[in-house]
Amino acid sequence: MSTRFPGFAPAPKSPGKLRRMALMVGLACLLWGGDLMAEYADIVINNYSDKAGMRPAIFPHWFHRIRFRCKVCHADLGFKFKAGGNDINMLKIIDGQFCGGCHNGEIAWSVENCDICHSGKPNTPTQVHGNTIQKLVK
């Protein structure tokens, strides 16, 4: 664990400290854990997709943050910090709202490339993939 925490607390001296350390290591193992293979912060949006016979949409945060800072989407385009909380539909996107702010054929590819976004496994629930709650509560 020491390689994970450079400069972590010196060797524990009292049993109380030892217990706390053990607790923290346990928590840390939990948080790193698991069978989650997809990328941290991949957003699955399945508000309407399944019902409409489409694969759920997956938004890869990592890909977008290489190209844009958080502010562009979360302040200028008005995306709330909530997976599935933005009530996005294709009509709004074609109208230039949400994803349509860029996915309009000018800044990024346009909406006719359905399968690039709608690429999730059918029936995958709306989620922030790899988030802390998902790892703690299975």
Partner: protein, 210 residues
């Protein structure tokens, strides 16, 4: 006293020899710890070193293998694999295993601050907020500069944090449940397993003893 005198150098030599022996004994224990990543190939087995920890070989999987993309989907194979993008970026030990703040600092990436204008520069606010924490952990330093290079003030203020000293109560429980800092940390920014990135200011030792 006189008798003790000749003994002490001998004792010192003995102690010295012992300590060298201890160091030598400890030395061979190091290499296996360094090659910790080696058994990753057999990570699918049940008796792995730590079955809860994602082995390095399983991190940053390409979309068709990542478990949430449909490998049958016609678009899935056209998606970029995270590893291809991350190979040139500085590493970290949590989240995407990328140190995003360092990547920005190193100019390894140059994300736009404006949707249309690639030349627009962020408004960076240089103000560190120190939060004295009640527990045994070091105090928290919140750096506005590293946050304002990504975000707008309105992303956090006033909905998540009231911009007033002492007006915000924050607990790790709230953060773990996705509130306060946990709106981003644990979802998209580095997760709470990286304790020392926030808890980074050593407490005043004199105050602790009181």
């Amino acid at each position: 006293m006189k008798r003790l005198f000749p003994i002490t150098p001998a004792l010192l030599c003995l102690l010295g020899g012992l300590s060298i022996a201890v160091v030598e004994a400890a030395a061979p224990a190091d290499p296996p710890a360094k090659t910790e990543a080696a058994p990753a190939a057999s990570a699918a087995q049940v008796n792995t070193f730590n079955r809860l920890m994602t082995p390095k070989s399983d991190r940053n999987q390409p979309p068709p293998l990542d478990g949430i993309h449909d490998p049958e989907g016609p678009g899935t194979k056209t998606l970029q694999a995270p590893r291809d993008a991350f190979s040139a970026l500085p590493k970290s030990s949590g989240g995407n295993y990328v140190n995003w703040v360092q990547a920005l600092k190193d100019k390894a990436i140059n994300p736009r601050y404006d949707r249309l204008n690639p030349k627009e520069e962020p408004m960076i606010m240089e103000l560190d907020i120190v939060r004295e924490v009640k527990g045994f952990m070091p105090d928290v330093v919140y750096p506005h500069d590293r946050h304002t290079q990504w975000l707008d003030c309105s992303n956090c203020h006033p909905d998540i944090f009231v911009p007033q000293k002492g007006a915000n109560t924050i607990s790790m429980a709230q953060i773990l449940m996705g509130q306060k800092c946990g709106v981003c940390h644990g979802k998209v920014a580095f997760p709470v397993s990286e304790c020392r990135l926030c808890h980074s200011k050593k407490k005043d030792q004199a105050l602790l003893k009181k």
